[in-house]
């Protein structure tokens, strides 16, 4: 054992020395943790780099958590959206729903009957033609399993096949079904052949989707390789990528080096300090796009002292918004107006914003009878997320000025979430920091899971309960399909209530930074499908 310790000491020192030689991109890559880097990919590289139709997507975590497109509600979004397709696709920046597997759709006067015309000549990867039956089967099965994001279909009463190319959805209440059908999770159309008699997905089932890429091979938790489906209805050109590798590369420094050497085509989640340097590298392209991800810090509205609205408002005034945006995310984001992120409908700069103001915070604390502070708060964040950690540290420094002690605890997501749902109410955190992103491109997705009253806490980790707010967003959601403008103004109104109640810190709406090789063309990010790269649109010049 002593030998081992000596070895570790030496390794640490070597790592320290090597990091000292950093800053020069041409240095051979030596990642900090020897067990993680992509050995095989590095060996393949010289042979593969010559072929332009080979793409590697360097991800920060596992490529997927479930093969079943009805169940997957996590990382698999970027993989499944290249293998499967929805009826329609939403373009949030143009606020348009575009046809995909459905050529067109109509909605009845009362908003309760939606009819989709299925595209002619679409084939599944196993060669079968796509029909209205498959659409009915897929959505029925997804609803029946009831896992993941399947609740998006909760308004659907029944689905009927009118003719081989027409399918009709009957709803029990009004809901924007076109948005539902465009969702990046749980809205995929797939073939019956990949499901066994127990309604279980056959592991790594191949040829089940209509998407441009089909599964070639996979190493669970590490990488997935897909190759082109030759009969894809969208067609193929020579320049398209014929093979795409989705690869987990945990260390941000390694992801950066893979982009610099051309080993990876696209990389995500690089530190902001790296981005400014990469911008000056001619072999690398950096694009900054709005994302629907925002950082929030939910206040525990049921536990003293934060059950007092004045104290919550004081804490909202104490947060160093601009400092966090400038320091933690390098200015790649903007302070939130309420819960709905910039770029999504329901966002409004008419909403009030809390601006950092320590004097105002002191006043409010005095009104609450706690002029001298003197209490302790527990903040939890997801361990490993540097942005959340740094934001918490900056907040701690501000709260110290109010004589409030902030304990910062980084926990693995599961433990952080378990603690928030703990039956021991006193043990729960005071401030829950997390990123939120949409399943459905609608403000309802941002407001319902997070602040609608819940019997048992799931994602309403502010434990917020306000019947006025609940009914406002429920009504707004139902109005979406028939009276969009009214719905939007109601969603804005609902957020005003949240802000007055200071149910949460609304910190910033983040921009996504995509780092790609310099000669990649056709890259366009769609914030309704976070972390998804539609590889069929891309090619190298």
């Amino acid at each position: 054992m002593k030998k081992l310790i000596h070895l570790i000491v030496v390794l640490l020192f070597v790592a320290a020395l090597i990091s000292a030689c950093g800053g020069k991109p041409q240095e051979p890559a030596q990642p900090a943790e020897p067990q993680k880097p992509a050995e095989p990919a590095q060996q393949e590289k010289p042979a593969e780099a010559a072929k332009p139709q080979f793409a590697v997507y360097a991800l920060n975590s596992e490529p997927l958590t479930s093969w079943d497109p009805a169940i997957e509600f996590s990382n698999g979004i970027h993989l499944h959206n290249n293998m499967y397709e929805q009826l329609v696709r939403y373009e949030p920046l143009e606020k348009k729903v575009k046809p995909l597997l459905a050529e067109s759709y109509t909605v009845s006067e009362d908003g309760l009957t939606w009819t989709f015309k299925i595209r002619q000549g679409v084939k599944f990867q196993n060669g079968d033609p796509l029909t209205a039956e498959d659409v009915k089967y897929s959505i029925d099965r997804t609803m029946q399993i009831g896992a993941g994001a399947s609740y998006i279909w909760s308004a659907v009463e029944n689905i009927t096949v009118k003719d081989p190319q027409t399918v009709e959805f009957k709803l029990s209440y009004q809901t924007p079904l076109d948005l539902v059908a465009s969702t990046g999770y749980a809205a995929f159309i797939y073939s019956k052949k990949c499901v066994n008699e127990n309604n279980e997905w056959i592991e790594e089932a191949k040829g089940c989707g209509t998407g441009p890429y089909m599964l070639k091979s996979a190493k669970w938790g590490d990488e997935v390789i897909v190759e082109k489906f030759a009969d894809y209805w969208g067609g193929w050109a020579d320049k398209h990528f014929s093979t795409v590798v989705f690869k987990k590369v945990a260390e941000p420094a390694t992801r950066r080096q893979m982009i610099e050497t051309g080993e990876a085509t696209v990389a995500v989640e690089l530190p902001y300090t790296d981005v400014d340097i990469l911008k000056n590298n001619p072999n690398v392209a950096v694009s900054v796009d709005p994302s629907f991800q925002n950082l929030i810090g939910m206040f525990n509205t049921k536990k003293p002292p934060l059950d007092n609205v004045k104290v919550r408002q004081a804490l909202a005034y104490a947060f160093p918004y601009q400092e966090v945006i400038d320091t933690v995310i390098g200015g790649y984001g903007r302070q939130s107006y309420g819960m709905v992120p910039y770029g999504l409908w329901g966002w409004s700069d008419k909403l009030p914003q809390y601006k950092t103001n320590i004097d105002k915070a002191k006043e409010l604390l005095a009104e609450a009878g706690m002029a001298d502070g003197g209490f302790k708060l527990l903040l939890t964040y997801t361990a490993g997320n540097e942005a959340e950690k740094s934001a918490a540290e900056l907040y701690k420094a501000e709260l110290a000025k109010l004589n409030i002690e902030l304990e910062i605890r980084g926990m693995p997501w599961d433990s952080q979430w378990e603690l928030a749902k703990s039956t021991d109410l006193a043990a729960r955190q005071d401030i829950f920091v997390m990123y939120w992103w949409p399943d459905l491109p609608s403000p309802y997705s941002f407001l319902f899971s997070t602040f609608h009253s819940e019997e048992e806490p799931l994602f309403n980790l502010a434990y917020y309960s306000n019947p006025e707010f609940d009914s406002l967003i429920d009504q707004a959601n139902q109005l979406t399909a028939t009276d969009f403008a009214k719905a939007e103004s109601m969603f804005v109104e609902a957020q005003k209530i949240l802000l007055e109640d200071a149910a949460s810190l609304f910190i910033y709406d983040r921009q996504d930074i995509w780092v790609t090789v310099g000669n990649l063309r056709g890259f366009k990010f769609n914030p309704a499908y976070p972390t998804v790269v539609f590889f069929h649109d891309l090619y190298l010049e």
Partner: protein
């Protein structure tokens, strides 16, 4: 006051022994350097608030306008991602590392030594039970066991210390037990037993004092290992929590920035390296001096 002079008289051989050991230890230049460095580290730990130029940076203050600056006369070791002075943070880290290592080893000794003495002194079923329990603990890789325990208790520096103590004590139990078994059969212990001294008195005042030398060696060598383990736990997010300036946590955070800010991981890394090295050197020295076979005059 007669009892006091009596007491000093009985202590005299021990003091002489310690002074001799220290003299022998000090004679080897490598160990002398190590001793000096350890003394320096202890001084740094005690006087951290006086030495560090920005003591507030080690507690909660932030200074974002100076983020990630390279080393300069103003910031000797550069600054971190929130503009805090790394020199101050590394100095305060010395305090944390030494403190936690001493407490963790102390706790492990507190559990391990009495258990070992009981096992060796009593023999029979008690011995069997205690030693099989230590076998169970020893069958886990120590870092893995510490990770499991601190993940279970929840991440904090205190829990990390507990976790290390819990995974470390069996080593001491095993050493003490081995010694105690041989001492138990010596004449003076038999004599004590013959005049009717209670068993526990025999174990704790006759056997235990004579088993301490190898444990002292082991404990002094372990300090380095424990510092490293605490750093490893903090690196994994299971030990110190931000903004505590713990070395392992500093290195863990610095991974994100290390391609642009070499100083961030380098200085905490050197601090760990030097500290663990000198403790291991001293441990080796103490072993040489206390072991009659390697002891040279």
């Amino acid at each position: 006051m007669r009892w006091l002079s009596d007491f000093i008289k009985t202590l005299q051989p021990t003091i002489r022994e310690w002074r001799l050991s220290f003299y022998l230890l000090n004679r080897n230049w490598l160990q002398r350097v190590a001793l000096i460095v350890i003394a320096l580290l202890v001084l740094i730990a005690i006087f951290a608030p006086l030495i560090s130029p920005y003591p507030s940076h080690a507690i909660s203050a932030t200074n974002p306008k100076d983020k990630l600056l390279p080393p300069s006369s103003r910031y000797l070791f550069g600054t971190d991602e929130l503009g805090r002075d790394l020199f101050s943070r590394v100095i305060f880290g010395t305090r944390i590392s030494l403190q936690t290592a001493l407490i963790a080893v102390g706790l492990a000794l507190l559990i391990g030594v009495p258990l070992g003495a009981i096992a060796g002194g009593l023999g029979g079923a008690a011995d069997e039970i205690i030693m099989r329990i230590t076998d169970i603990f020893l069958s886990f890789p120590p870092l893995l066991l510490a990770i499991a325990i601190s993940a279970f208790l929840g991440p904090s520096l205190q829990n990390a210390m507990l976790a290390i103590a819990v995974s470390w004590w069996p080593w001491y139990t095993r050493i003490i037990r081995g010694q105690a078994v041989s001492i138990r059969e010596r004449q003076f212990v038999r004599a004590a037993r013959a005049i009717g001294t209670p068993t526990f008195r025999i174990i704790f005042s006759h056997i235990l004092p004579n088993t301490m030398a190898p444990v002292i060696v082991q404990a002094s060598m372990d300090i380095g290992g424990v510092i490293l383990t605490i750093a490893a736990l903090s690196f994994l997010g299971l030990g110190a929590q931000p903004p505590t300036p713990e070395w392992g946590l500093l290195i863990s955070t610095s991974r994100t920035y290390f391609l642009n800010a070499w100083w961030y991981s380098t200085f905490p890394g050197i601090a760990i390296f030097v500290t663990v090295l000198v403790f291991n050197l001293i441990g080796d020295g103490v072993r040489e001096v206390l072991d009659p076979r390697t002891r040279k005059f």
